[in-house]
């Protein structure tokens, strides 16, 4: 199981280590540093690195490498999922997950890590339960603790820990009972030069924020549940009812959680909501090239030899970073009557031949109140409690990994 965890910052310093079994010397990280050196960018460090006696599994989040050390055959996904859970927990506790904040809260971090694993076995990874065991630091609590001498550490067994609904604590009380659901869909797409779609798929999630008193039992039904044939549920969802009736029936965790995520393949995709017209050309002879983009692009990666770009947008602001060769154009709102465009010239490094590769346009956009797959919630009902909750559903479509090749 998981032996140790090292947190390493971008400059290669180990700023935190935690061992759940015997202590593994931090020299084991040397193998990681080697791999890091070989990789051109931090993102390209391979997630599994073998060393003579251990295996290093790492994830790179928020400019921090979370490196887990294992010694025997352990499912790597188990380790990586756990590392993600660590990241999520830190974010949940401290609002952001950064080297500074972890250093500032090192004792809480240490206590939390100790609760999350025992002898390398996951113990408590639900943020609800962790927060009962170790209370997140808040200014108010720090003040209260200093005055009363009480502690951050709960001295009672977390109530949800062993019940059939481990994700929910008992005795939840709210004056305003609310349940909000956000249907967020991201389009991952590759559009080729000519504008036709090579691949497109929708990654959807329903994130919930449920603040309801007591033990509510909710059911959520859809107008068109047949869209959802590839779904992953939060453990609270009763799978049997979904299988038989295609409705989501669950006792929700308290607070924010991801109710389900789903995947809709390209066949169901009606239309790509934006289009991009581009004309980027480099010329062999002169060190100048032409550049023109129309409609909603936001980011373009230019070849290495590009020195600078002189561009005029019809709207929005644009920035070209000569080091990373990244051109960003923040378009703003698109007015269908007057399509935004970005035009100008590209200056190339003198003496170099024209670049072999074509830049790729990375698109970011948001469309409010639309789920592009056409998914619609029919109704939300609550059983088990008497009060009338306030319910809300929001839809949003975003670009995920949306790329236009030129």
């Amino acid at each position: 199981m998981i032996h140790s965890l090292f947190l390493i910052n971008a400059s290669g310093d180990i700023f935190l280590e935690k061992h759940w079994k015997s202590v593994v010397s931090r020299s084991v990280c040397d193998y990681f540093f080697e791999a890091q050196e070989r990789a051109s960018e931090a993102e390209n460090v391979p997630p599994v690195i073998p060393t003579p006696h251990h295996y290093l599994l790492s994830v790179y989040r928020h400019k921090i490498f979370f490196v887990a050390v294992i010694q025997s055959e352990v499912p790597p996904l188990f380790v990586i999922e756990f590392l993600h859970r660590v990241v999520d927990t830190f974010q949940d506790y401290f609002g952001v997950c950064s080297e500074v904040i972890i250093k500032d809260n090192v004792v809480v971090v240490y206590e939390v890590l100790e609760e999350m694993l025992d002898n390398g076995f996951p113990l408590a990874t639900e943020s609800n339960i962790l927060k009962e065991l170790i209370k997140p630091p808040t200014i108010l609590r720090t003040v209260v603790n200093t005055i009363t001498g009480s502690t951050n550490v709960g001295d009672q067994l977390p109530t949800g820990q062993l019940s059939v609904v481990p994700w929910r604590r008992t005795g939840v009380k709210y004056t305003n009972n609310e349940a909000y659901f956000d249907v967020i869909e991201e389009i991952d797409a590759i559009i080729d030069k000519s504008g036709s779609t090579i691949t497109a798929e929708i990654q959807g999630v329903i994130d919930a924020c449920v603040k309801l008193t007591g033990m509510p039992d909710l059911t959520l039904s859809f107008m068109n549940p047949r869209l959802l044939d590839d779904v992953s549920f939060h453990p609270c969802v009763r799978f049997k009812r979904w299988e038989s009736e295609r409705i989501l029936s669950f006792i929700p965790p308290d607070g924010n959680f991801r109710l389900l995520s789903y995947h809709v393949s390209a066949q169901n995709l009606v239309a790509i909501p934006v289009y991009v017209k581009h004309n980027i050309s480099f010329r062999d002879s002169s060190s100048l090239g032409r550049f023109e983009i129309t409609v909603g692009p936001k980011q373009t990666m230019m070849p290495k030899s590009v020195l600078n770009m002189t561009l005029t947008p019809s709207q929005g602001t644009h920035v070209f970073d000569p080091v990373t060769k990244l051109l960003s154009w923040d378009v703003g709102k698109i007015n269908p009557q007057k399509l935004p465009s970005l035009k100008g010239s590209v200056s190339l490094q003198a003496g170099t031949s024209k670049p072999d590769e074509n830049p790729t346009i990375n698109l970011q956009f948001k469309i409010q109140q639309l789920a592009i797959s056409g998914l619609k919630v029919n109704r939300l009902d609550m059983y088990g409690e008497k009060y009338k909750p306030f319910k809300g559903i929001k839809y949003m479509t975003k670009a995920g990994k949306f790329q236009v090749r030129t």
Binding site: L16, P46, P47, E73, D104, I198
Partner: protein, 945 residues
């Protein structure tokens, strides 16, 4: 206020100050001090000196303080074992605490203190906790057994904790079950033989029930445990599959993959005809696709596993090609894996799409990725025949980009395409040759050389191309050297006339100037092959190549089956069985897929069983080669014989012993039994005069002082230079053949044109058409001084081993001296083989003439010969061509003649001579018509000299 304050130090010394604070009366101050200690500990500072002071803080009702002290204890107990004992009492007391949280914490911490003395005290509290009324304590205690086992395995067994742990599998609480399974699995890992997880249908049922209710991590443990179970029949397998399937919709990818493993394994037992089998296949695809929308690290592990799944059951993902399309900001490790799977899924249906994508990738920035993309195009061509043409044209387009590494990769894959589809796309060779100069990577150079060698007959300047590589032979990598050697040998076998020099050059480079044993051995093998038996050499070197397998780098089926059992583990990431890499795996149990059982037993259909590796389907060319190699190696085993020729010499006579010293040994009169029986085979006439370059050194040519041309001897041609000095490090050999009173000899003049003395001469013939072999060793009595010549008459016999040569009268000779071994070939006039008793009886002649079918008759014109019939007759008689009858028909003289070759072949001739016409007509009849051509040459030679 943040924790960073704990890192500030004061002048007095940190430890000193902390000590004071730890011993403070104020709770709050104590706690702050412990926090400071912990903070120092986390960044690797040594605060072990504070051990007694920290342990003193343990006795407290403040849970946070207690936990902090425990954290400290776990870290430092090992370095201070005696002090750690002080903590035992508190632990034992805490295990009795009414608060289950405290009880669990105590037993959990105690297990983490890896000190023998403490573990002894741990047993009693642990036993109690394993039976605690609170499930939280029980599940913590279960893990503690695994910890204790790690420290002292014997103790755990003696105390019977293993049995208690097994009982916990039947616990009412799913979390306890999951932890018990996890603990048992970990213990079992270090005890592969022990049957700890004794799974039976009842316990499986318990696990399946717990599976639905426990945490995500518990589900992973249970699923991994289930995967080790072997259901007794297909019905049980199906019912387990049905209960595991809902896990595919879990948000935790590790749960999903573990469920996939169980399903993939148990599916093996299900009959394919079953409806459920199809349903299950359909259910497996979506979760795998979903894994690919996760974070890149998860994607990577998922892709490595999908790679296995696609090989085992390609039908699952065959429609999901698009999800493997690469996005430009995917990390490189994801890109490479996706590409691999794209190739595996490529089929006729989607090839167009795949190719378009690959072409797009080939223009990306990342070099590794571009290379692999180009390679992938080649793999597509090999896999999907219909696409080959498109792939080749795509590759040509890419070559036109002139991007160096793209060109090189393209050439490497085009080589494979040539292998797969021989004689189909050779039109592109010209384009490839244009890029010859830009190749700087060994693999690309080797590929290009292979192409040139393989298609030498279609490339006009193949010899020039190869020669250009030869210049820097020693700077090339071994791969290129080996390929160059083979290519030149191929070239030689295809165009022997122009490339002899080249092949000698490369052979000597490979055998003499190289330290690489592979290269040297291959050089020797070729050399020997060429000198022993060029026909066999042709058969071996230019043999039809085994087809290359359709799928490249497939995992071997048995390994694949084993790896399927390890889906989701490190083994599946490395594509190696755990035994190959897991540290200290003490006899890891090899897992195997369950055999298919049940009523409708059907053999694994071929579409799912990947075809065997290339080794399995190689045609029989290879064994032949093996035999041949065996023969060649035998040669070396023959004992070196010196002195008088021995009749006992090896069966492999006539083979030139290239390795040197025993060169003289193997020749003898008693050689070989097969000599003499010349069995002709159909052949075509080949260019003559292969190895006798005329021209230089004419002065020596007519040095006819030797005892040639005596009375009863047949015609002897003037000596010609056989081996020019520049090719043989200064040794010049000229010579001719003669026949006198029934004995054949080779008249040689050896001239030393080097600056050093030559000695230790020896000669050896390669097998030839008539079994010519030296009848005695080459006798050069004194060392040959510079600029000195020596004349030698080497007696020959015709009992050497026989191999048909092209041309028929070709003789390959090896001459050795103290400097080196040299090779040359020459053509001998056939009349040296005409025996003295070649006169046939008249009756016999008539009968034979009639008997030989007319197809065997060949006519030749001998022009510009002014001799009359009698002169002709007597001249020919001198060379053992006997006139049997002479007739005058309509003013023409008809001579009927016979001759016999050393191997017993009779040749009958009718020579028509018109007195006014200088052209004779020669009709030859022979049972072996292929000799006729050479008989005619002999006639012409004799008559004109």
């Amino acid at each position: 206020m943040t924790d960073s304050k704990y890192f500030t130090t004061t002048k007095k010394g940190e430890i000193f100050e902390l000590k004071a604070e730890l011993n403070s009366d104020k709770k709050e101050k104590k706690k702050e001090a412990v926090k400071k200690v912990i903070a120092s500990m986390t960044v690797g500072k040594d605060v072990s000196a504070l051990f007694p002071d920290v342990v003193n803080c343990m006795q407290t009702d403040n849970l946070e303080l207690k936990k902090l002290v425990y954290l400290y204890l776990m870290n430092y107990a090992k370095s201070q074992p005696d002090m750690a004992i002080m903590a035992v009492n508190t632990f034992v007391k805490d295990c009795e605490d009414p608060n289950p949280l405290i009880r669990a914490l105590a037993v959990r911490t105690m297990g983490c203190i890896r000190v023998d003395k403490i573990t002894e005290y741990l047993c009693e509290p642990l036993r109690k906790c394993l039976k605690d009324e609170d499930p939280y304590v029980r599940k913590t205690a279960a893990v503690c057994v695994a910890k204790l086992h790690d420290i002292n395995a014997q103790l755990v067994e003696d105390q019977g904790f293993l049995d208690t742990l097994k009982d916990l599998i039947s616990d009412s609480n799913p979390m306890v079950v999951a932890n018990a399974v996890a603990a048992l699995s970990e213990i079992a890992e270090s005890h592969p033989s022990s049957n700890l997880l004794d799974l039976n249908p009842q316990s499986i049922n318990k696990l399946l029930t717990a599976l639905n209710e426990c945490t995500e991590w518990g589900q992973i443990f249970i699923l991994d445990c289930l995967a080790n179970y072997m259901p007794k029949d297909d019905r049980e397998a199906q019912s387990i599959c049905e209960r595991v399937t809902p896990r595919l919709s879990h948000a935790n990818s590790a749960v999903v993959l573990s469920a996939v493993k169980v399903l993939m394994k148990f599916m093996e037992m299900l009959s394919k005809d079953l409806d459920y089998y199809g349903t299950l296949l359909k259910k497996l695809a979506p979760p795998l696709v979903t894994l690919l929308s996760a974070e890149p690290e998860l994607q990577y592990v998922a892709l490595r596993n999908i790679n296995l799944i696609v090989q085992k059951r390609p039908e699952i993902l065959k429609h999901e090609m698009k999800v493997f399309f690469v996005k430009y900001n995917d990390p490189i490790y994801v890109k490479l894996e996706k590409l691999d799977i794209m190739i595996r899924l490529a089929s006729q249906a989607n090839i167009a799409q795949v190719l378009a994508e690959l072409k797009e990738y080939a223009t990306e920035v990342d070099v590794d990725f571009v290379r692999k993309a180009v390679r992938a195009i080649g793999r597509c061509a090999i896999k999907v025949e219909q696409s080959a043409e498109r792939c080749v044209s795509t590759l040509l387009d890419l070559i036109q980009t002139k991007v160096n590494y793209v060109v090189q990769e393209a050439i490497v894959v085009i080589k494979d395409i040539f292998r797969k589809y021989p004689n189909k796309y050779e039109s592109v060779i010209a384009t490839l040759c244009e890029n010859l100069d830009s190749l700087d990577e060994p693999e690309a150079r080797a590929a290009m050389i292979w192409i040139v060698g393989e298609y030498a007959e279609r490339i006009d300047n193949a010899d020039e191309l190869l020669e250009s590589f030869l210049e820097g032979f020693h700077d090339e990598s071994t791969q290129v050297q080996l390929q160059l050697l083979t290519a030149i040998v191929k070239l030689f076998l295809k165009k022997p006339t122009e490339t002899q020099e080249l092949v000698q050059q490369v052979l000597s480079l490979a055998t003499q100037d190289s330290d690489n044993p592979d290269l040297r051995d291959r050089g020797y093998i070729y050399w020997r092959l060429l000198s022993t038996d060029p026909v066999a050499a042709k058969e071996v070197v230019l043999a039809e190549k085994p087809l290359i397998s359709e799928e490249t780098d497939l995992i071997e089926p048995t390994l694949l089956d084993e790896l399927i059992c390890y889906i989701g583990t490190l083994a599946s990431v490395y594509h190696k069985p755990p035994s190959a890499f897991v540290e200290g795996s003490r006899g890891v149990v090899h897992k195997s897929l369950p055999p298919r059982t049940g009523s409708s037993e059907s053999a694994e259909s071929p579409d799912t069983a990947p075809s065997g590796g290339p080794a399995a389907d190689q045609p029989s060319v290879i064994p032949t080669q093996g035999d041949l190699l065996g023969d060649l190696l035998n040669l070396d085993l023959g004992p070196p014989v010196s002195g008088p020729p021995m009749a006992t010499s090896a069966v492999q006579m006539g083979a030139v012993d290239l390795l040197g010293d025993s060169l003289m040994g193997d020749e003898s009169e008693g050689m070989g039994g097969s000599g003499g029986s010349f069995t002709p085979a159909p052949s075509t006439t080949a260019p003559t005069n292969v190895g006798a370059p005329l021209g230089s050194g004419l002065g020596d040519l007519f040095d006819l002082t030797g005892g040639v041309g005596t009375l009863s001897g047949s015609y002897v041609a003037p000596k010609t230079v056989w081996l020019p000095a520049m090719k043989a490090k200064g040794l010049e050999i000229s010579g001719t053949f003669s026949r006198q009173v029934g004995s054949i000899s080779m008249d040689l003049v050896l001239t030393n044109k080097a600056l050093q003395v030559m000695s230790d001469f020896a000669i050896q013939f390669n097998r030839n058409s008539f079994g010519l072999a030296p009848a005695a060793p080459l006798q050069v009595h004194a060392p040959l001084a510079p600029n000195q010549s020596v004349e030698i008459t080497l007696p020959l016999n015709t009992v050497g081993s026989v191999m048909k040569m092209e041309p028929l009268n070709n003789l390959q000779v090896a001459v050795k001296n103290n400097i080196d071994v040299f090779y040359f070939s020459t053509l001998y006039p056939l009349h040296i083989l005409f025996v003295e008793d070649g006169k046939m009886e008249r009756q016999m002649f008539l009968a034979t003439w009639k008997d030989i079918p007319n197809e065997n008759e060949t006519q030749f014109q001998i022009k510009d010969c002014s001799l009359n019939a009698d002169a002709v007759s007597s001249k020919l008689q001198g060379s053992n061509i006997f006139t049997i009858a002479k007739r005058n028909v309509e003013g023409q003289d008809m001579l009927y003649q016979s001759l016999k070759l050393t191997n017993g072949i009779w040749v009958l001739a009718e020579l028509r001579i018109q007195p006014s016409n200088p052209s004779f007509t020669l009709s030859l009849k022979c049972r072996a018509p292929e000799v006729s051509q050479y008989i005619y040459q002999a006639y012409e030679t004799i008559l004109k000299n």
